[in-house]
């Protein structure tokens, strides 16, 4: 008998989804209660995850197709926290656009479920199932504001391109299966050797599919449009939660089934990383819409996390995970600020709308200032440490070129962050924005800003937690 306790979080969250759906059908005007119940469900799931799986160093279930280890538990917690905060700060936004329906929390929950399955997968089929579950939920979420043309366009674009990449991914999986005779990651890892170079196609297809999901250059084209068109809260969800899950799967693929083929994939990852860092930095300069700018900046940040993965060392993996965790906090803070730019039930998304913000809203602009400097990687803010760990791991492997290109692109990236700061602090002020924000929004902004600002006082804690992850 399998120890089902280990997958209790997934079981619980699936039952909650079904329950909420049923509730929505039978009870009228149940949006509010659904929202609260789904928050509650996420909370319980997180508690179960911590209780049941956090102490497990590595166990497999269901014929070794599901793996529970430190990395999966940690990343599930990050995913759940991200999902919780997204849900909690979206309600006001949704109400204003009159899309405060039960489907929203249910869709978010199902995509979280998909991601949790992905994170724990140790088998090609389980992985693909999780991936599709989360993607389908995300397609709908992108079009969630269906009365707006841009939102529908975003959803359609995302659907078409993502389906294509899923196709590539599936093709890659079938090639790998053909060569190894198994869908299980551990068996694949033992069966594969680098002699058969048709296998490289399989790896490349899988990596392309995954690179698409985390929007690494050159598979990033969908990101700016989708980010711009989707409702802001959904964009926030896009920029953090699926990335965490996809990154975990990326790590799992590279370091379990493909570990012996390191010569084949290392160059690919280095290329993806450099291309994302440089392109993300350069392309963001010309943007005028904040959401588009965030899209490019997130492309750049993914480049840095990939730099950690390219090192093929535990240090590197840990640094990537630290990077993505800090990135989640920073993005959450950034979007909290963005959601505060509201005047008479209208949200503002252009960089020019920030003009002179510091005179009317000194505290908000101070938070934004810290967040932007942190995103630019200026010490002593958290973003600097994220980059610092990554480059420490990169330099351990003597990959000087990657490190120098990465750091130089931070200088380019600093330019567009500075431009926002310039507009906020040096330009003429505009009308005031409303200040009656929901308590949760203020809470998430305050907490994340404080985390960013004061991370340098206790930097070891995060490192210690993450250092328990040993994949190789």
């Amino acid at each position: 008998m399998e120890n089902l306790n280990l997958v209790l979080p997934e079981i619980f969250i699936s039952f909650s989804i079904m329950f909420l759906l049923v509730l929505g059908v039978f009870k009228k005007n149940s949006s509010k209660i659904t929202f609260n119940l789904s928050l509650f469900a996420i909370l319980i799931t997180a508690i179960i995850t911590i209780n049941e799986t956090f102490s497990v160093s590595r166990e497999t279930l269901f014929n070794e197709s599901v793996v529970i280890d430190t990395m999966s538990s940690l990343m599930k917690i990050v995913t759940l926290t991200g999902g919780f905060l997204v849900l909690v700060i979206s309600s006001n936004y949704l109400k204003i656009f009159k899309i405060y329906n039960i489907e929203y929390p249910v869709l978010i929950l199902s995509s979280i479920l998909g991601m949790m399955v992905m994170i724990s997968s140790n088998d090609l089929i389980v992985f693909y199932m999780g991936l599709e579950l989360q993607s389908l939920a995300l397609y709908v979420l992108a079009t969630y504001n269906r009365d707006q043309l841009k939102s529908s366009e975003a959803g359609l674009k995302y659907f078409v391109l993502s389906a294509l990449s899923s196709g590539l991914l599936l093709y890659g999986c079938s090639l790998v299966y053909g060569f190894s005779g198994s869908t299980n990651f551990d068996i694949i890892s033992n069966q594969l050797n680098s002699e058969e170079y048709v296998l490289t196609f399989g790896i490349v297809f899988i990596l392309v599919g995954l690179a698409f999901k985390i929007s690494a250059v050159p598979f990033h084209m969908w990101a700016p449009d989708v980010y711009e068109g989707s409702p802001t809260t959904v964009t926030l969800f896009f920029t953090i939660v699926p990335k965490v899950a996809a990154l975990t799967v990326f790590i799992r693929f590279l370091y379990v089934p493909f570990l012996n083929l390191i010569d084949q994939w290392q160059m690919i990852i280095v290329f993806l990383s450099i291309a994302s860092m440089v392109f993300g930095a350069v392309a963001a300069i010309g943007q005028t819409n904040i959401k588009r700018l965030i899209a490019y900046s997130s492309i750049g940040h993914i480049g840095y996390t990939l730099a950690g993965l390219a090192t093929a060392s535990n240090e590197g993996i840990q640094s990537s995970i630290i990077y993505i965790s800090i990135y989640v906090v920073m993005n959450l803070a950034l979007f909290s600020c963005l959601l505060m730019l509201r005047r008479k039930d209208q949200y503002y998304e252009d960089i020019d709308d920030l003009s002179g913000l510091s005179k009317n809203h000194p505290l908000l602009s101070l938070c934004l200032l810290l967040i932007l400097f942190s995103l630019a990687g200026i010490p002593p803010l958290a973003g600097f440490f994220a980059k610092f760990y990554v480059f420490k791991a990169v330099l351990e492997q003597s990959m000087y070129f990657l490190a120098i290109v990465g750091l130089l692109s931070t200088v380019v990236a600093a330019f567009y962050y500075l431009r926002i700061i310039k507009i906020m602090y040096f330009d003429k002020e505009k009308d005031k924005y409303d200040t009656d924000h929901s308590l949760w929004l203020k809470f998430s902004l305050t907490v994340s800003t404080i985390l960013i600002l004061l991370y340098f006082i206790f930097p070891s804690q995060l490192v210690e937690v993450v250092s328990r992850i040993n994949i190789i």
Partner: protein, 493 residues
Amino acid sequence: MNFPILSSLILLPTIGALFLFFIKEKEGNNTTIKYVALFTTVVNFLISIYLWIAFDQSTSSFQFIEDRTWIKGFINYKVGVDGISILFIILTTFITPLCIISVNNSVKNRLRDFLIAILIMESFMIGVFSALDLVVFYLFFEAGLIPMFLIIGIWGGARRVYSAFKFFLYTLLGSVLMLVAIISIYWITGTTDVVQLYEIGIDVKYQNLLWLAFFSSFAVKTPMWPVHTWLPDAHVEAPTAGSVLLAAILLKMAGYGFIRFSLGLFPVASEVFTPLIYTLSVIAIIFTSLIALMQEDMKKLIAYSSVAHMGFVTLGIFTLQQQGIEGSIIQMISHGLVSAALFLTVGVVYDRMHSRLISTYGGLVSVIPKYSILFMLFALASLGLPGTSGFIGEFLILMGAFKDNFLVAVIASIGVILGAAYMLWLYKRVVFGKLLNEDLKKILDLNRSEYFILSCLAAPILFFGFYPDPLINTIEVSVTDLINMHNTNIASK
């Protein structure tokens, strides 16, 4: 001695800034804000004076060391001072209160935010001079960019945005390579602790590249020719207090970095690259002095003179002679005082006339005599007249240079003459001559706070000019040991 005196020096201004953050700013009534800021910085100055008194001058080992685990198994938060760094700390704590007094006239809006930025800046600067771990040093070194960017950008002059961006991106570009070098040092030696690194030494085969990476950062910050172009822009556009901080202290971070890290960690590479430094320094001295002659903007002229003076400093450091290095340190301290004073004197007339152009002025001596006397003193100190602190520094540097390389010393000496030329010519055009501009007739002489600030700066300039012993005694043992260490390292390699 367990009291963490250095950490309290670093933290106190930040705590003061935090206090300011919670005080509401009222229109027209900013006295509380200013007094809180002033109080904090004066207390900090007194602590640093106590530090100097308690400092043991007979040893070159680091004192007041604090060593705390910061990132487990990787970086320790380690601070400490030796004879070289203590002077820079005192310079910082001395200049900052003067900056705060000077904001009276120059900063009109958002005074509270301005003072917060200055106080945080002070924390970072003291941190730079006391850090004994490369990562901690880098952290403070880079963090200073944030407040300075805001000081230039928010309170600066007409082209403030351009200047702020230029300042930020130039320095950031220089520093990222240093970060690569610091992490590489960690992987080569297994530590980033400066004291341990002094003992272990770094393998010769890495030294050249690492030296260049550090150089890229320090050269931009110093600034050395040809990467000095950010400085005139930043200086000209920054508000007076910002220019003072920039000239008096920020530029010294790089000079300090050269002594502490480039010389201390990479002795062999330092020898290898001495010709490069000599060339760039000499070009800086001659070329920027010539540029300074042609300036029509007073602040720009002083900015270029800073580049020239920092050229002397780098020249002195890399003579690798006792006199040269001591001269460089004293020159840095002296330049810290003199350039601060010069920017403040320009600030005084700028506040009254709102023009920095030399042609606006002329004949000031007949309307504001007190101002003219002090201005003369600072101008003479800047060109290195005997009896002022500027002379001691330049003289020692040239002495060191003559020992090492005759040609370089001769060319550098020409720079001294050029320095006298542009400074005296500036003084002549501004202070002497006929009073042609009608508006100048109504100009007021120094008010009490300005008089106070400028005399505070004049006193040490004259004192150390006649009696430099306190400075030399403090640095002597540290510099001797640095050179001994350097020579043994060279001999053993």
